[in-house]
């Protein structure tokens, strides 16, 4: 079967192109910074999408790996440990290193299943946060690490948020395409099988344990990559970003847009970062509204905005069909 470009895909691509063209022309400085952070968060959230959306495994570990990636980058490029790598190779090295680390941690933690696994990832977040926050030689303690060089791409230094935007949107698109390819490959289907019924998955020749570990590895690598970008973009890394509350925030981000939907994750990340800025005038009520919004969302559309869209589409299709049948009679 050849896949044709659906009108839906054309609309999505056009919207994306518009987004890329318009955003850096309208925004600058602080607001551009917010959008950029949303893009980097989207990369991390794509990792959660692979674990939770495809495989049904609720993990909080994203911030642990994001922090790992950020501190790794900071140590590689600031001469703190006498290492002074150029930024590009360090950036490319980060997901590779943390894929390895995530693989080993995944081998251990994924011996557990369901809620046990989720708890172990919460524990992991607490342990890594304690180290990030206290161990000065590697993580700078509560002061964090500053003076991180910005991305240097073959001599071109990305010093403004607006130039960063192009790099980030490019990377987000690449990650989104990879995630979409995974979804449509054997790995994606195997994860879906595990999500629905682990026993049935086993009888279909799926190595449930190893498949989960691979998903965890991918999620870890993506989170570390996002973290490495984040610390270069902000030129600073501090431990606050990597605590339990932010871990929960990432899960909410993924659920909001639609945890098993590639476009949904992107929209979710943008909303979580951008919406509070737009509603700044509400200031102190913002978080409160946010909390209510999350609950309403879970009550009325647990599959997120993407789920809502699918539902509306299905309803329209259904109605059209009825109409056609009515006309045929």
């Amino acid at each position: 079967m050849k896949r044709k470009f659906s009108p839906e895909a054309i609309v999505l691509v056009s919207l994306l192109v518009l987004f890329i063209i318009i955003t850096p022309r309208v925004l600058s400085g602080y607001s551009m910074n917010v959008v950029n952070i949303a893009l980097m968060f989207a990369i991390v959230a794509y990792g959660i999408s692979v674990m939770l959306g495809m495989g049904g495994q609720l993990t909080f570990a994203a911030v642990s790996f994001m922090g790992g990636g950020a501190y790794f980058m900071a140590n590689m490029c600031t001469d703190r440990l006498g290492i002074n790598m150029p930024t590009l190779p360090a950036l490319l090295l980060t997901p590779v290193v943390f894929a390895g680390i995530a693989f080993v941690i995944g081998l251990l933690l994924l011996k557990l299943s369901g809620t046990y696994f989720t708890f172990s990832t919460i524990a992991l977040v607490q342990v890594t946060y304690a180290f990030y926050n206290n161990y000065k030689p590697l993580f700078g303690g509560a002061d964090g690490i500053s003076g991180i060089p910005t991305l240097n791409l073959f001599g071109y230094k990305f010093t403004s948020y607006n130039t960063w935007f192009y790099v980030l949107i490019f990377l987000v698109i690449i990650v989104a395409v990879i995630v979409e390819l995974i979804r449509d490959s054997q790995l994606g289907r195997s994860l879906a099988a595990i999500r629905d019924n682990e026993t049935a998955a086993l009888t279909m020749g799926i190595n449930v344990y190893m498949t989960k570990v691979i998903a965890f590895t991918i999620a870890g690598a993506l989170a570390a990559f996002g973290g490495a970008l984040w610390c270069m973009h902000g030129r600073f890394v501090g431990s606050d970003m990597f605590n339990y509350l932010n871990a929960a925030q990432f899960i909410i981000m993924a659920m909001l847009g639609g945890v098993n939907n590639t476009v949904g994750i992107f929209v979710g990340a943008l909303l979580v970062k951008v919406l509070p800025e737009i509603l700044r005038s509400l200031q102190s009520y913002m978080q409160l509204i946010w909390g209510f919004f999350i609950i309403l969302l879970m009550v009325f559309m647990p599959t997120g905005l993407a789920g809502l869209y699918e539902q509306i589409k299905a309803n329209i299709k259904h109605k059209l069909q009825k109409k056609r049948e009515g006309a045929g009679q």
Binding site: Q186, D196, M204
Partner: protein, 252 residues
């Protein structure tokens, strides 16, 4: 002919309840082998032991004369033990195509990386088309699987299992919940599997018509024990079997 699947002295207890006691029999390639018995005789337990979801307390399972007793369930599936369930197990949130591709994934065994890189495996569409013509099913690919009626799901599960190119198929009550036409299609599928593809089929079924119609050999279980083996005629006239079934009826 060498058996494709052989059970040797399988025993299994669940907290004192005997589910299998010294069960020994074998399935030949290209044969449909019936596994019958009253409710609670241990038929499904045996299937779970063969596919590796339960481990037997004692005894061994051989696939093509290779001892697979210690082999994990997913490896057994890859070695060629396919199965279907009493209640079909499909991915509820995926469309029909993805669900069936899981079968082809198992058949291709190309690994996640090759699949990600879009390496070509067997021709999924052609093979599926052939099977669906026998099963007399047609539908829109991209629809959700949850919209299909139960009978079609049961047929599709056999199709999915066959897409995995198994050497042995464990088929659990394919006729339950199907209408007469659909039962016919299911039998056609099993016929194709055994006679044209040489798959050894182990069939659990309550519909005696189907068992008598399609099985070359039958093994009868009661309270986890084999009480009779033989061809359809021999089983139909076996006094022990008749008693077991009558006893079973009274319990109900």
């Amino acid at each position: 002919m060498k058996p494709i699947l052989r059970l040797d002295g399988i025993c299994k207890n669940f907290g004192g309840v005997v589910a299998a006691k010294d069960v020994t029999f074998s399935v030949l390639p290209g044969e449909v082998h019936g596994l019958i018995g009253p409710n609670g005789a241990g038929k499904s337990t045996l299937m779970n032991i063969i596919s590796g979801i339960y481990t037997a307390d004692k005894g061994s399972v051989f696939l093509d004369e290779k001892d697979i007793t210690q082999v994990p369930p997913y490896t057994r599936a890859r070695m060629g033990i396919g199965r279907t369930f009493q209640v079909p197990r499909f991915l509820q949130r995926s469309n029909i195509r993805d669900n069936l591709l899981l079968g082809t994934d198992l058949g291709n065994q190309m690994g996640y990386l090759n699949s990600f890189l879009r390496k070509k495996g067997t021709d999924f569409d052609a093979e599926l088309q052939e099977l669906l013509e026998i099963a007399k099913i047609s539908f829109d690919w991209s629809n959700d699987i949850s919209g299909l009626p139960f009978g079609k799901l049961k047929l599709l599960e056999i199709v999915r299992s066959m897409l995995g190119h198994p050497r042995v198929m464990l088929v659990d009550e394919p006729a339950a919940g199907l209408n007469n036409k659909e039962i016919e299609y299911a039998m056609d599928l099993l016929h194709l599997a055994s006679k044209k593809r040489g798959i050894g089929v182990l069939l659990i079924e309550h519909s005696m018509d189907m068992i008598m119609d399609i099985c070359e050999d039958i093994v009868v279980l009661n309270f986890g024990e084999v009480i009779a083996t033989g061809g359809p005629e021999a089983i139909a006239s076996n006094q022990l079997v008749i008693e077991a079934y009558l006893g079973g009826e009274q319990d109900d």
